[in-house]
Symmetry: C2
Subunit: 491 residues, 2 copies
């Protein structure tokens, strides 16, 4: 069994090791692509199920749009071209021919099947979806149009990391059209808050809500909102974004509606998304040197019961008690009765898989109607009566959920600094790292210089940032926005 | 509002019209691709949810594998090359360049981004999944490996039809590996029966279970099982398939395990799938000239309540009563209070959308605590007490579910014929069409001739076909399998 590298020794290696140890994902034989293994995928299924419920509760409907986008569509919105006409998968042919080469079956591309127009595997679906919106929207009665899609996305990344940056990933993308600018703005903000509630409440990861600077904006948006989380190596991770697209795509794709006065107007739009990188965030927000730790609200398996026995006779009474206990639990649990594996090895396995509560049950406990409950976060062991455990399991899980959130929140607070001096900025970003709250003159030159010299980027201008005069941490000119923004190195 | 073409006038046109009328799907601006609209997608979500439950109940776990398959992988299994090295989407480049042409932003493929090895957008995932199985399987303890994937698939079809045959479609594909041939065979048959239970019980479509002839087998399988349904134009539709792959892929991808005696053996495998074409089957098994008809067990909306009123005063009392009634129902329902649309128009809309039960509620009904219940299948109207309706809604829906299944079953029986004479075969397949039970000598030449001359294919050898001697309907040589098989024109 391979040891997990400690976080201290090499955080990047630790990250890869815990994914392997928990069997979450694997690199594919295709460059930059990943395989999401059953345990990792069951986390994604929980994310989908819970978030999908919230997306539907707020009035959105799911639909499915094509994987392929005609190349010309990407050119229709000027800023979008710049942002997305780069690394992507391009389909140029539509037929293979099998032929025999030295007695070996071989496959070649049929040159005669060259497409008239190349197709792009969607790097995001604004263009193809808005081409359809133009067809579906006619009058104010058709608005708002509130659509969501769960899909796979391809961006040809050169430097990939499981869950965080892969050539193909899974996500949901919301796309909406509204009659007024105000409604679109309200929608973009509403979905940002839906993401916040989900990431904080379900994944137990505290986030900061903010607006991106123009440099960091989505290609084609008027405003991009983000939720930013701090990982345990003090780097930032963008956990979700929500864009107010204004009328940019509406004008590019001619999405017009007849308003109540009979006038033709362009719609106002938003788009928003979260992806499988949330699993990367889960790992790096909560994990420890023993493996991942899953918050109970997202854990595929909140409780595991490990019977401990030596003789066949003990086996029977302990396993019977374990199954009887399982029947009393209102949450999903698993009784690990595998005979060829010793209890210590089982403990170790379930720790690697991040199961929040482990129950140890031996002949002594059975005799006294007790269980030993082990908390995955603190490692704390508590001996309690079976009935009490069954009755309070919800509370215990809630406590772990809160414990994880609180620990991550305190960590972020500990590594958040107000910095006014550039030398201090350069030092702090190196060690200990974290979120540096700084003033900025508003010029993209200063933003670029900071990035070049420190690898830190402006993560966002927090929505709740207080009004405050100050001077740019880089050039010392006065702040134009008069609010501090967050600079950090990021995933 | 566009009229729906009658089935009698033009069945193919009827099919397209009902899809448009119910807003199930739309053609995409990409050749052969479709957009699944929210109402159509909500049917697919129900299919996914219910079938996913059955797949998990039988011990399978979901995972996700890459969209792209290296070209060389397709060549590894000899029969698979022949079957799948044909029409597919081929990715050859990985970068676009934006450039300015006559003042217009334009996008071109960067020739320098040509891939060393072309990637195929998955037409099915045996090759990529089995490459991973080879990595994951080591010992008999790792078996059986029971994996399922929900994914999008691309096959470059020239002649497309919404849901039935599109370049991109959605499906699930199960892939399993077993220690023995017997287990693999049992698995292939088990999943065929899971499909049967789902298609008959949930979609209300009777199917015949059978085995494909070698010609119609999946490329790379030892045996292919199928469930075949009859559509209202008497054509067959293959609703799901399950393949016993033997050791073909195991040998091609070197999937070996150490058995309990310490010997290395190749695994035995299966794969099985159903797709969005099930929605096409639903439409053509149950629909009528008013639109689609959805069986209650799959309908996104089993009940719609339409309040009928003239004055504002009536509006209030009728809508209040409708909402009060809705609250008493144990199934999902919708109260259609849209003011700008007349009741007749609403009836018509919900008929097009195939809602199984419509409730009409006017001032007269409210006064007498009654509702008018309209059955979408028979059109029958029944006036009943509110309380009775609420109490028995489950029964009413069950009756409609059974009614649809029974009607489809009788239809299939009516158009199933035992045919021994080829002239009769040619006539019957033309008019009225249907399932022709015939004898066959076993030669693929006769099979090909029949297809060429009549457009009928051998759908399957039914699993429950009685042993019976006979002579080939085409060449008159004795039947080798001594069972009748089903010939039909098919989608």
């Amino acid at each position: 069994m391979k040891e997990i590298t400690s976080q201290k020794e090499d955080y990047a290696k630790w990250y890869t090791d815990v994914i392997e140890a928990a069997e979450l994902a694997d690199y594919a034989p295709v460059k930059g692509c990943m395989i999401i293994r059953p345990y990792g995928y069951s986390i994604w299924e929980n994310i989908q199920r819970i978030l999908d419920g919230k997306i539907k509760e707020t009035g959105h409907q799911n639909a499915y749009f094509p994987l392929f986008i005609p190349k010309s569509f990407l050119s229709k919105e000027a800023a979008h071209v710049e942002g997305f006409a780069k690394e992507c998968a391009i389909v140029t042919h539509s037929r293979l021919k099998a032929h025999c080469h030295d007695g070996q079956a071989e496959v070649v591309v049929d040159p005669e099947s060259k497409l008239e127009e190349e197709l792009i595997v969607r790097p995001t679906s604004e263009t193809i979806i808005n081409a359809m919106f133009a067809k579906w929207v006619g009058s104010w009665r058709d608005l708002p149009l509130l659509i969501n899609q769960w899909a796979n996305i391809v961006r040809w990344e050169m430097r990939t990391r499981l869950f965080l940056r892969t050539a193909e990933f899974l996500w949901q993308e919301g796309h909406t059209a509204h009659a007024t600018a105000e409604e679109a703005e309200a929608e973009a903000q509403k979905m940002l808050h839906v993401y916040r509630d989900f990431v904080e409440g379900t994944l137990g990861i505290p986030v900061l809500l903010g607006e991106k600077t123009p440099t960091e904006r989505f290609a084609g948006a008027d405003r991009t909102y983000t939720i930013e989380a701090m990982m345990q190596d003090r780097k930032a991770l963008q956990a979700g974004t929500s864009h107010n697209l204004g009328q940019n795509f509406a004008k590019a794709f001619q999405i017009q509606f007849q308003n109540q006065d009979g006038q033709l107007s362009y719609v106002w739009q938003t788009s928003w998304g979260v992806s499988t990188r949330l699993i990367g965030a889960l790992i790096m927000a909560h994990g420890d040197d023993k493996g991942i730790i899953l918050p109970p609200n997202i854990a595929p398996l909140p409780v595991v019961i490990v019977p401990i026995y030596r003789s066949d006779e003990e086996r029977k009474s302990v396993c019977d008690a374990a199954i009887a206990l399982q029947r009393t639990l209102p949450v999903k649990s698993y009784v690990d009765t595998r005979d060829q594996i010793k209890p210590g090895r089982k403990f170790y396995e379930w720790e690697k898989k991040g199961v929040p509560i482990r129950i140890e049950l031996g002949p002594k406990e059975v005799a006294q109607n007790q269980v030993v409950m082990v908390n995955r976060v603190s490692g704390e062991k508590t001996t309690i009566q079976c009935a009490e455990f069954s009755r309070n399991i919800g509370t215990y899980l809630d406590q772990i959920q809160k414990q994880l959130f609180q620990r991550a929140l305190e960590f972020r607070q500990k590594y958040s600094f107000r910095v006014d001096d550039y030398k201090e900025f350069q030092e702090k970003i190196e060690e200990p790292g974290g979120f540096l709250y700084v003033h900025w003159c508003g010029s993209s030159e200063c933003e670029a210089k900071i990035k070049e010299e420190t690898k830190a980027t402006f993560r966002c201008i927090p929505l709740d940032a207080p009004h405050e005069a100050g001077v740019c941490v880089y050039c010392k000119k006065p702040s134009t926005i008069q609010k501090r923004l967050i600079a950090a190195r990021a995933y």
